[in-house]
């Protein structure tokens, strides 16, 4: 029994390292790209660098170290982890405009190749707000209302896949609504607002569902606290998303202001 425990512990450290490695690589690559491209282009925004670093810290503390281990055993901690990895980290990382940085750091020819890849029908499909919402919030419903949640804690492979999905779906969701990087196939503000409203609704309903019907093997008190963390914590981040969406509308629609002469005609 004892050897089994140490085995799973060692194994989980490997899992943690595997999950954290891509974040470490992207964190360093970004900073290298900033230093490199600053030499012959306009200086890159400090706000974006800070946003990138904070976003990565959010993801990394959820995936490795004492807090990551706590998320395995405590459902409230698990929920804070969900908010950090699936919502806050993607938002901060999207705000850092990584594609813009990538495109200005590489030769024009390759940049054209990458932007033509991003324009293809697969990316425009998954980036559609409805598809991105289903992948993100639909995935959460699947995780918390089926035995998948228990299975995730028993299989390391599932654990890795689900955590990658949570982050990627969160990032996709963010960039489906907020356009920071160059965005082919843009959709209207009204359409994005309505879909975001429905997605936020589905997220808050799921929080109350978790509160009332705990996922397998989660004690009721932890499920109640976890549901409330998801409800109010989700609100805080979603308010940020909604604010950014309307702010972008406000700036973009400046050109449509009518002058009094428009009316006199």
């Amino acid at each position: 029994m004892h050897s089994h425990e140490t085995h799973t512990q060692n194994f989980s450290i490997i899992v943690q390292l595997l999950l954290v490695l891509p974040f470490l690589i992207s964190l360093i690559s970004y900073i290298v790209a900033v230093i490199y491209s600053n030499q012959h282009k306009k200086r890159w925004s400090r706000f974006r660098i800070l946003s990138w670093i904070l976003g990565h810290l959010c993801a990394i503390i959820t995936l490795i170290g004492p807090f990551a281990e706590l998320t395995h055993v405590n459902f409230s901690a698990h929920m804070i982890g969900h908010l950090l990895l699936g919502m806050l980290a993607p938002l901060l990382i999207a705000l850092a405009a990584p594609m813009t940085l990538l495109l200005r750091s590489i030769p024009v020819k390759r940049a054209r190749l990458i932007s033509s890849i991003l324009k293809n029908s697969y990316f425009s499909f998954v980036r559609n707000p409805i598809v991105a919402s289903i992948l993100n919030v639909g995935g959460l419903w699947l995780l918390y209302t089926t035995p998948l949640f228990t299975m995730m804690h028993e299989s390391s492979l599932l654990f890795i896949l689900i955590h990658i999905h949570i982050f990627l779906a969160g990032y996709l969701f963010t960039i489906a609504f907020i356009y920071i990087d160059p965005t082919p196939h843009q959709v209207s503000y009204v359409f994005r607002s309505i879909v975001l409203l429905v997605a936020v609704t589905a997220h808050s309903i799921l929080s109350k569902h978790i509160y009332a019907y705990p996922p397998n093997h989660v004690p009721i008190e932890q499920a109640e606290l976890g549901g409330m963390i998801m409800y109010y914590g989700g609100d805080a981040i979603e308010i940020g998303l909604v604010y950014l969406l309307f702010y972008q509308w406000f700036k973009r629609s400046r050109s449509s202001i009518y002058s009094p002469e428009t009316f006199s005609n």
Binding site: S193, L196, L197, V200, T201, A202, S204, I205, K208, H209, Y211, A212, G227, M228, Y231, D235, E238, I239, V242, Y243, F246, Y247, W249, F250, S253, R254, I257, Y258, P260, F263
Partner: protein, 162 residues
């Protein structure tokens, strides 16, 4: 002389208000709705603890309705703030009509909350372990008064258009 100048300046600031009657109304409506939902959350859920986060007798449709209005309330608050800023930059703000929208939106949401959500969907009650009737009456009559004030203000500003 200075008073005249001030009036002229104020008129200039709102010179386009008659062209944005609809936007003034909707900006107020959304703001009223959002503010009432916010007061409901802070006062009754967080400070007084009268309302419950989840009441075991809630029907599924109640959960959906609650989730939708919860999300809509902060959409409406933030959206109406930007719409208000948009009205000001277009010199189209109309205080009275905006207030009319606020009263109507606030009253309509409170009445919906009081009758549909509390009674039909049994989402939660205003307060537990008390005689609920006076609370319900006060809640819904207040909502109706707010709505009437809003409708009167909107009708008055509607006539000024022509």
């Amino acid at each position: 002389m200075t008073i005249l100048n001030k009036n002229e300046r104020n008129n200039h600031k709102h010179e386009n208000r008659f062209h944005y009657g609809q936007q003034n109304m909707w900006t107020g409506l959304l703001f009223g709705l959002g503010v009432v939902a916010f007061i409901d959350e802070v006062l009754f859920h967080q400070l007084l603890h009268w309302h419950h986060f989840y009441d075991k007798s809630t029907a599924n449709i109640g959960l959906v309705s609650d989730g939708l209005f919860h999300a809509f309330s902060f959409f409406a608050t933030i959206g109406s703030a930007f719409l208000l800023a948009d009205l000001h930059r277009k010199h189209g703000f109309w205080l009275k009509r905006w207030l009319g929208g606020i009263f109507l939106g606030a009253g309509a949401f409170q009445l919906y909350d009081g009758i549909i959500q509390h009674k039909f969907m049994k989402l939660h009650q205003i307060r537990y372990n008390v005689d609920i009737l006076p609370y319900d009456l006060f809640w819904n009559i207040l909502a109706s008064i707010l709505m009437v004030i809003g409708i009167v203000l909107l009708i008055q500003t509607n006539q000024q258009k022509y």
